[in-house]
Symmetry: C2
Subunit: 354 residues, 2 copies
């Protein structure tokens, strides 16, 4: 497929709807699976990787008849395109950077993405907009069951699914929600939330998973335990804690409004003003201002600008997206100029402050 087609759209999971979508961007289920009769990817020969890939792809093709998936061969894909797919969250950082036979099959709506020869033979990812972990799990479970009828996954009666990294052994499940928590950051309460989450064995990461910074005030909260806890229990535990974080964030937003509406309005208006005016802007600064704008829209401080548009700007202003949109490779200074131009065009006359 021609990846450039994707530059005009964004994934379904960014459409800004679904429960609690002012704070919960998306819900994600990831399942790690390995074929029983092959070594893990890190120990597989070139031939074995090809066989793994062929077998997994055949299984996917048979089960995905009702839902066409696009397959992209990552081994031959240029670096820029791999980064592009990573920015869209269709492949992991690991898979974008790796080498050898590997690929990804994903649905047009970008809510299903099946990574082949990632750290594990198969990593299945399912995404939805808003807080919808249970529904996302249902879909993941259906696809997983269908695939398991055709493929033999490495499974140990006591340990569960076997995975390349011990941290995934058991359910192979990583359930996560992406939260936008600007008010907790502004009011300096975010660390407190982190500490509470770590205590109950939940991990907090940035927009692009492990090791990535929490730019744009986005935080991904996920389970750390995959052994000795059922899939439903794992999902229920996260689903139970998210409403509390949502409530903290809502309280912080209300506190900001009631204690200094003018200050908050100023912060939001300046961020929008800078995004509409800048001639050169870094990704980090863009994320910061877009986060303020997103907060402003949700609090009714900005008119005429919609959440899905802002969600899309977060993704489209990433380095690889900018270069795909421009149709050529750009160094950092030129990317900063292209980013500013993109933002000015998107925001021109389309928004007004309240």
């Amino acid at each position: 497929m021609d990846l450039s087609e994707l530059t005009g759209t964004s994934g379904e999971w960014l459409r800004g709807t679904g429960p609690e979508s002012d704070i919960v961007i998306s819900s994600r289920i990831r399942l790690a699976r390995n074929l029983a009769n092959f070594p893990f990817v890190s120990r597989a020969s070139t031939d074995e990787k090809t066989q793994i890939s062929d077998e997994v792809r055949a299984g996917i093709k048979e089960t995905a008849r009702t839902r066409p998936l696009s397959f992209v061969d990552l081994e031959v894909l240029p670096t820029l395109d791999r980064q592009f797919l990573m920015e869209r969250q269709l492949i992991s950082r690991e898979q974008a950077g790796g080498d050898g036979n590997r690929g990804v099959a994903f649905a047009k709506e970008e809510n299903i993405s099946l990574m082949i020869n990632e750290e594990d033979h198969l990593r299945m990812q399912f995404m939805r907009s808003g807080l919808a972990l249970v529904e996302t799990w249902d879909e993941a479970n259906t696809v997983d069951d269908a695939l398991e009828e055709r493929l033999t996954f490495a499974f140990h009666p006591q340990l569960g699914y076997l995975t390349a990294c011990p941290t995934n052994v058991g359910t192979g499940l990583r359930a996560s929600v992406m939260l936008h928590l600007p008010a907790l950051v502004i009011t300096k309460q975010i660390e407190k939330v982190f500490r509470a989450l770590h205590k109950i064995n939940l991990a907090v990461r940035g927009l692009y998973g492990e090791g990535s910074q929490a730019s744009g005030d986005f935080y991904q909260i996920s389970n750390q335990v995959t052994l000795g806890k059922s899939e439903m229990k794992t999902i229920q535990d996260i689903t139970a804690v998210v409403p509390q974080i949502i409530q903290y964030e809502r309280q912080a937003r209300q506190a900001l409004l009631s204690e200094g509406r003018e200050t908050l309005q100023d912060r939001v208006a300046r961020s929008l003003g800078i995004l509409r005016a800048a001639r050169s802007i870094s990704s980090e600064e863009t994320m910061h201002h877009l986060s303020n704008v997103r907060l402003g829209i949700n609090l009714g401080l900005i008119d005429g600008l919609e959440i899905p548009a802002v969600n899309e700007m977060f993704i489209h202003t990433q380095p690889a997206h900018l270069q795909k949109i421009e149709g050529r490779e750009l160094d950092v200074p030129n990317r900063n100029v292209a980013r500013a131009t993109y933002l000015r065009n998107r925001l021109r006359d389309k928004s007004a402050e309240n």
Copy 2:
């Protein structure tokens, strides 16, 4: 007179015309004079101050028939109004803050201002837009001569005019030009210019004279020597050095354009964007951004916005001006909000970037 009338206008010297007016805001001549038969102001009794004031005012009235001057009694004027006159450069910081019988007579165009019972009995100030020290001196000299026909000034055959502070003895002349030097500040060459000026006995001060900060990248350059140097020589010496500073600033502006047009455009556009968007903004930040905008207009980076309008915004966003415009006293946070509102209204749809 009702000072509020002045809030809709600004002084003639801010009209942004005259030679080199992209860099030279204004030229100013100040003459210090004292009546021979009275002690200096600091040693004068209340009665004596009244007599000084009466005598000087009578002299002014007789000489100013062709050119009506408004007289304002500063002793009874509220603090806010005195600060307002100081922001307009019609009275000095010293006269705004002092006490006792003192006043000012000024022309509607605000290009002449005669301060009575300032540090000296009479301080005459003459201003013009652009680089025009000689012409300003001619006017000052004419007024000074006319007054001297009616008043007896303290004059010593060897020392010249006697003044309250020894630094003014001799000519009593302070000739100064107000320069806008943003490019020398950005390129960090301004200190070098200062050192060169100090070596030739010229003083550098901020927008509001002695002790004031050089906000908005405005620098007032004036003579330090009043003894043993004629008025014309003093003026010629300044007039000779200013073109060199202008040339340095122009070179710095061209260097900024040629070495990083995009960076400069970004700086200018962001400043305009912030001024158009902010909901609360300090005086210092406003000066900083207006300075960038002024530079941008002069370099053709901003369309549809004129220098006189920006010059006026520099003055109108000062604390007392804002309060006069609002018609009530405002504390700092409310001034910051009023300043942002004023700027948004002035800049709304009136400017576009190139």
